[in-house]
Amino acid sequence: MNVLEIEDLKKKFGSHQVLDGLSIAVPEHSVFGFLGKNGAGKTTTMKIVLGLLQSDGGEVRVLGEKSVYGQNAANRFIGYLPDVPEFYSYMTPVEYLRLCGQITGMKEKQIRLKSEELLELVGLKGVKKRIGGFSRGMKQRLGIAQALFNEPKLLICDEPTSALDPVGRREVLDIMEQVREKTTVIFSTHVLTDVERICDRVAVLNNGKTVMEGRLDEIRDRHRKNALLIAFERKENLKRFIEEPVFRKLLTASKKEGCQVIIEAADIEQAESELIRGLNETQIMPSRLEILEPSLEGLFMEAIQ
């Protein structure tokens, strides 16, 4: 079942067509990475889903319920973490979460338990000071706690890591990984390593359309090239390797990049065994030898060309 379905979404700001027929389907219990350049329309899409912006056309459904602009009833399924979450700075985290619980109609006891659980999860347990004195990272973590408070079926995070230092980023990603069993997570980012760490699905947005969508491993498989990388520590080893007649056949389809050579072959295993045998014979020792995986960066660059 799809938690979120977006069909043919259109949005124009002035003369700039930000979204031009965007379609996405997010199945249940996935961690969905929403990629795109800055200004590609990721935030716009999320705001339309939440009813904070009016679309010019197309349809958004959350758990089958249509999402509308303004007073949006579908929001009860959603937890949202904006890119820069803002809180009432005069409240403490506990007070803020209590307010969150009360406006969604939770019982006092439930609120207390949930607050404790979530503050523990995001590492803000026992923090008594007011939110006004929080760091960026602390606010981001409290943001996750408030987004998860009403046990949403869909957690939407808008660039949750982009404003954080490496430590804060790691903490936020860890938390998101922990909640994946309970909810479906969509998060937008332009940091590809974050996607590689926790996402199982991605969609790449470019010029207002999805240019690539699907399971991350399937996309990888589809774009896998049969290639071997062999790297040398020193220039003279590389030179010997290239000039060695044993490897001539292998090197017909290859390219040289600095101290490494990428060899393409139809049958990768056969090529690999030939290469190892040759290396053994000639006693040229490489520093590295591996089968090339398509990098997400490469795929991303290819997709948005």
């Binding site: 700075s89 005069y90 007011r130 006004g132 004195g133």
Partner: protein
């Protein structure tokens, strides 16, 4: 001017309220050096020398975010 001293007990609550307003605002100005606009000196002058309205303007418009 002696009459003014006669009235002092009656005027005391008024003076007291003005003082509380001024001191609260002044303490806030000094403790939270982030303002939406203006700087510390400007706000000190406004809070101390403009009776009643000064602290109101500070808390309504000048007060920055809590840090």
């Amino acid at each position: 001017m002696n009459t003014l001293f006669e009235y002092l007990p009656i005027l005391l609550p008024v003076i007291l309220i003005q003082l509380i307003l001024m001191v609260t605002a002044l303490v806030h100005v000094l403790r939270h050096p982030n303002y939406r606009f203006g700087n510390k000196v400007v706000w000190i002058v406004i809070v101390v020398f403009i009776q009643i309205i000064g602290p109101i303007i500070y808390f309504a418009f000048g007060r920055g975010e809590d840090e």
